[in-house]
Structures are given as structure tokens and as C-alpha cells.
């Protein structure tokens, strides 16, 4: 799985961090999403998928490969 984030679209809700803290983080200065794992290991792919679905700003893309 490949994950990508769009920092322009992100509105800093932290939903992704609450759901998948191993995959996503937030910048301290403005709360904008930071990707910790562009290719999450199998243990974290389910959460990454949920995080993408739960992003209110459609700022997370997940490509299954």
C-alpha cells in the first residue's frame, strides 16, 4: 500500500492521527498532516484506509498495490 497526503487540502482535524498514529502525525506549528509511513506495513494498512475515509478534507490518498 502507498499513502500520500495533500498538505494544502488538510484542515488539521487530527482524525487521521487519532485513527492511525503510526502512519500520520501533525506539524506542531499549524496542525497540518505529516506522513510518517508512506508504505505502511501490513499491520497498519487497515487503519490507514480508515483514516483516508475519515479525512473530512479528502487530503489522504491510498493506493493498494
Amino acid at each position: 500500500m502507498r499513502v500520500a497526503v495533500d498538505q494544502e487540502r488538510c484542515c488539521g482535524t487530527g482524525n487521521c492521527v487519532m485513527i492511525a498514529p503510526e502512519v500520520f502525525d501533525q506539524r506542531d506549528s499549524d496542525g497540518v498532516v505529516v506522513l510518517r509511513q508512506p508504505q505502511p506495513p501490513p499491520a497498519h494498512t487497515a487503519q490507514a484506509r480508515r483514516a483516508a475515509a475519515n479525512c473530512p478534507c479528502a487530503a489522504i490518498k491510498v493506493d493498494e498495490d
Partner: protein, 409 residues
């Protein structure tokens, strides 16, 4: 559920989005349920005499809230009240700083400045303070002995103190602070009283901002002044502060109160929350879905003709989304009208959706995840001190709320 007398208010003055079922104060009004089945995007009449579109299905509500062609800038005249011949011709425009009523790029600029203070990490650091505030209030309840009004001794003070903590409001000012914030979101307030309250609040916040400009502290206002002091005006700081208070106080308070009432009515679910800490996170989300304490978002206005699911909303017309109806949409949530911890409440819209999605969600959810299990464990025999039928609900500007919640144990 049996017939009750929990009158919400007379239907004439309460916009459809706020109305609830006559026989169950937790459920949406029958007219909303009918619309979701038959007329999911259709006009309705507001107390002002204007008409707006009401959107009731989960998928459509999310489509509206994530579409940049809908503006959040409020219309110049209130849609929620009948025209007031004695009032000013035009309502004042949205004050500076209150980005809930702004569109990009102004919205983006302000929201980004303050979001650093609301990250999940920052909220985690507040957790011990929240646990402390909750424990103090439970101790005070235990000392006082039942019956008590849970609204007054628990639900209202906790979120208010958490926001005071966040903003750095001195303790001596906190009682006045709470009174003003409650009045600010009431529907049934005379225009003069509302304005007087608003001015008082504004003056208080101006003082707080001036103090932080002179000597920035470690709390939210101090950080904003230190990191963005040259980019943000005093008026914006005041508006922002007012917004955080009005957005975070009554909302969280009523989830605490109405949520407690819900758990008292569902002792089996309460027992699960009390005994299994690992389900609390999920339980709070199901509760937020089921209760939908914020019944709709701010009104939106179409900036262009927009077609949603086959219906075209013409440019210039107003749109309201029913978050409550979306959260009870059977197409998304099977068995949606039941509160059940076995449900999957994923993608509920209790915090809205799109760029105005609640900024305070990480804070609200922490308060709720701390408060409910602590309350249930301290008072395992918690129950109503009056018949359920006597609990008075009232619709509010921002949140569905309780007049009082008499409990004992």
C-alpha cells in the same frame, strides 16, 4: 418508547432542523424522517419567512459540506428568527476572527494559525488537567450528596473550565464567563439582552487579549501572540476567543448531560462502559452519532447552481444540512435509531465535514472519554431524581440542550 411530555418548544418558532419527535426527545422529527425517505433535498420554510433547502441524507450532507461552491458566510438577516421591526435593519456582519462564518482564503489563514494549539499531541498533554477537573467535580458531588442538578454541577462547568484552561482565563473571572457563554447561544433571548451580553463578552475578551499582548503566557492566546502576533489583529484575537468559547462550551456540556441521560436509560450499555475501558472510545463515537447534539451546521449559501444527487440548488439560495438526520440514515447505518455499542458509527457527521469540520474534536472527545467512565464508576447507582417525562429539553442556537438534569445515587 412510551409517550412522554418532553416538549421541545412550540413548532411555530423552532426551525425544522431543530425539531424532535414528539414521543422521543432523542429522535428526529417525523417530518425530517419523511423527507429523508421521500424528499431528501427540498425547500422548507424558516421562522424568518425565507425558504431554504434542507438536506437529510448522509451521502448528500457530506457532499454539501465538502463542496467549495457552498459558502459559510451568514446571510445579513437572521433566518432563524421572525423579522424584528424594532431591531436594526441589518444584523452586524460576522465579527473578525470568527472563521466558522468565513470562506477560504480568510478561513484557511485563521484556522491554520490556531490549529497548532488543537493537535492531537497538544490535547494529550491536557489530559491530566481534564482528569483533575473531572475528579474535583465528582468529589464535590459526593460531598453534596444527591439529588443534584448534573447540568449545573458537572456538565456545564467541566467544558467551560477546560476552555478557560486552554485560553488562560483567570479563576476569579470564570463564573461570569460561564454565564455569558450560556446566554450567547440561546434562541429565546430578546435582541437587546443578546446584544448587551455580546458587548460584555467582547469587553472581557478585549481585556484578556490586551493582557496577553503585554505579557504572553503559555496558553493558547499567549502562543498566538508569540507566534503570529504581527499577523493577527486584536479584533481577530477577540473574535477567535469568543468563537472557541461558544463552540466548545454548550456543545460538549450537552453531550455530557444528554449522554448521561441516555446511559441512565440504557443501564446495560452503561455497565459495559463502566467495566471495559477499551470500549470507551468507540462508545463515545456511537453516542455522538446517536445524539447529534449539534443538529445542523451553520447555514450555507450556494455561490453557483449546484446539483446534488439530481437536484439543482440555484445560486444565491440557502441550504441547511441536518446532521442528526444524516447520522440516523438507515442507508448508512442499519438499525440507526437504536443506541447500541455494537454499532459501527464510522463516518458520522456529529462534528460536521469538509473544511469547517470541528476544530475542537480532539479536545471534545478527550473530555467525553475521561468524564463518562469516571462518572459511572464513582456513582454506579446513578439514576434520575425526577420522572423522565419531567426532563425539559430545549433547542438552542448551536446545540440541543437540557434545562436541568436532576440525578441521585
Amino acid at each position: 418508547m412510551s409517550r412522554t411530555d418532553n416538549r421541545v418548544s412550540d413548532a411555530q418558532s423552532v426551525p425544522l432542523t431543530y425539531q424532535r419527535a414528539p414521543d422521543c426527545p432523542f429522535d428526529p422529527a417525523p417530518e425530517i424522517v419523511r423527507r429523508r425517505a421521500e424528499d431528501p433535498i427540498a425547500r422548507f420554510l424558516l421562522p424568518s419567512g425565507d425558504s431554504a433547502w434542507l438536506v437529510t441524507r448522509h451521502a448528500d450532507v457530506r457532499a454539501v459540506l465538502s463542496d467549495p461552491r457552498f459558502s459559510s458566510v451568514p446571510p445579513p438577516d437572521s433566518l432563524l428568527r421572525p423579522p424584528d421591526p424594532d431591531g436594526p435593519a441589518d444584523a452586524p456582519p460576522i465579527p473578525p476572527g470568527m472563521f466558522v462564518g468565513m470562506d477560504p482564503p480568510g478561513h484557511t489563514r485563521l484556522r491554520r494559525m490556531v490549529t497548532g494549539e488543537f493537535t492531537v499531541k497538544r490535547m494529550d498533554r491536557l489530559r491530566p488537567r481534564i482528569e483533575h477537573i473531572v475528579a474535583e467535580h465528582l468529589d464535590a458531588m459526593a460531598r453534596a450528596g444527591g439529588p443534584v442538578d448534573l447540568m449545573k454541577v458537572f456538565a456545564l462547568p467541566i467544558p467551560s473550565l477546560v476552555i478557560c484552561e486552554l485560553l488562560g482565563v483567570p479563576y476569579r473571572d470564570r463564573d461570569d464567563f460561564q454565564r455569558r457563554s450560556r446566554m450567547a447561544v440561546e434562541v429565546d433571548v430578546r435582541h437587546e439582552d443578546g446584544m448587551a451580553n455580546f458587548m460584555e463578552m467582547h469587553e472581557y475578551m478585549a481585556g484578556l487579549v490586551a493582557a496577553q499582548r503585554a505579557d504572553p503566557g503559555d496558553d493558547l492566546l499567549g502562543m498566538l501572540v508569540r507566534e503570529h502576533g504581527d499577523d493577527i489583529t486584536d479584533e481577530e484575537l477577540i473574535g477567535l476567543t469568543n468563537m472557541l468559547l461558544s463552540a466548545g462550551h454548550e456543545t460538549t456540556a450537552n453531550v455530557l448531560a444528554i449522554g448521561t441521560l441516555l446511559l441512565i436509560r440504557h443501564p446495560d450499555q452503561a455497565a459495559v462502559i463502566r467495566e471495559r475501558p477499551e470500549v470507551v472510545e468507540h462508545a463515545v463515537e456511537e453516542m455522538l452519532r446517536y445524539l447529534s447534539v449539534v443538529p445542523s451546521t451553520l447555514v450555507r449559501t450556494a455561490l453557483a447552481d449546484v446539483t446534488i444527487d439530481g437536484t439543482t440548488i440555484p445560486a444565491g439560495e440557502h441550504v441547511m444540512v441536518s446532521l442528526q438526520s444524516a447520522n440516523r440514515d438507515g442507508a448508512r447505518y442499519p438499525d440507526a435509531d437504536r443506541f447500541d455499542l455494537a454499532h459501527d458509527p464510522e463516518l458520522h457527521v456529529a462534528f460536521g465535514h469538509g473544511i469547517h469540520h470541528c476544530l475542537g474534536r480532539p479536545l471534545a472527545r478527550m473530555e467525553l472519554q475521561v468524564a463518562f467512565p469516571a462518572l459511572l464508576r464513582r456513582f454506579p447507582t446513578l439514576r434520575l431524581a425526577v420522572p423522565f417525562e419531567d426532563i425539559q429539553f430545549r433547542p438552542n442556537a448551536a446545540a440541543y440542550s437540557l434545562e436541568s438534569l436532576p440525578v441521585t445515587w
